[in-house]
Homo-oligomer: 184 residues x 2
């Protein structure tokens, strides 16, 4: 199921996996889209309510948030696999696209709170925190994609190494260099 791709996700396949038939599925879901929507909601809820890392406040909390996203375990890999596969379907439907946009905006908000906390703790230099939050989520998402396609090149240790390097750069870095001013 997590290995056959979104295109191979057919009602009969799901029913077979459940040891049931299509009758059950059509009895509980009016349409297939409703089923996949429910399944993805369930996946999101499950991963969100999964025991989260909580090794500290400030920068460590930001690190934890990203670690909770990365495919470091086989379970997390499957989740990300399904999620990435669902992007095709989501991009084809404007309503679903808006839903996904909202989800990622919420993700950035979660990052934002931790970025602000880290800044207040002095672990991150000042600077527009929303930019840092968006950048952190971009880093996480991009690393997820690369790790999914090349698990051998991105074992858990490598992923955390890259993350720690990224965070170290953030901590030492971003003096707010305003973009070159055309008129001056």
């Amino acid at each position: 199921m997590a290995t056959r791709g979104f295109a191979g996700l057919t009602l009969r396949a799901v029913a077979a996996e459940l040891g049931a038939t299509t009758g059950l599925l059509t009895h509980y879901f009016p349409t297939k889209q409703a089923l996949v929507a429910y399944a993805l909601d369930l996946l999101e809820e499950r991963t969100l309510s999964r025991p989260r890392r909580q090794s500290g406040g400030g920068l460590a909390a930001l690190r934890d948030a990203i670690l909770d996203i990365l495919p470091l375990t086989s379970e997390a890999r499957d989740s990300n696999r399904i999620w990435v596969s669902s992007w095709d379907n989501a991009l084809a439907d404007p309503a679903l696209s808006a839903d996904y946009a909202r989800k990622y905006a919420e993700g950035r908000d979660r990052m934002l709170q931790r970025v602000i906390a880290a800044q207040e703790a002095g672990e991150l230099p000042p600077g527009e925190p929303t930019d840092l939050a968006a950048g952190a989520q971009a880093f996480a998402l991009g690393l997820v994609v690369q790790a999914l396609f090349d698990p051998a090149a991105f074992p858990p240790g490598r992923q955390t190494e890259l993350l720690d390097n990224y965070l170290a750069g953030l901590a030492a870095g971003p003096c707010p260099i305003s973009s070159p001013d055309p008129h001056a």
Copy 2:
């Protein structure tokens, strides 16, 4: 085509877009997978041979490389849209997955060369350049995904702003903090 998703990419739809029928397609391609493989190869070649930004060496070159990836124009948005949509199909086939892994490894190599050049020019602090390259591509990929789902929140100006902030952090930052040494 770029808007109907990968699942809606049917032989008859492609033929209709071409003003032809399925006979033409089956005459030139033994199977559908061969067609999409050719189409994606063509897309890759076209975007790779597209006029690339070249505003300078070192860090500016790295910036250019990422700008060439981001969906800053409608054309680039369509390319990225198709590319992201193809991930579902690619993840379902191990051989295709390996192909994609190779492609992204090549992308990291392109980043790597520019990272090294920037380091030699003193525009980036020393540190493992392969890590920076992987991080830069992760940042680019993740920003692509977020921008595709929420174009309103990530207009071109916002994307370049985030990129410049990221690069500024890189330039000021990464003093090579080795990860905590267990035995010492």
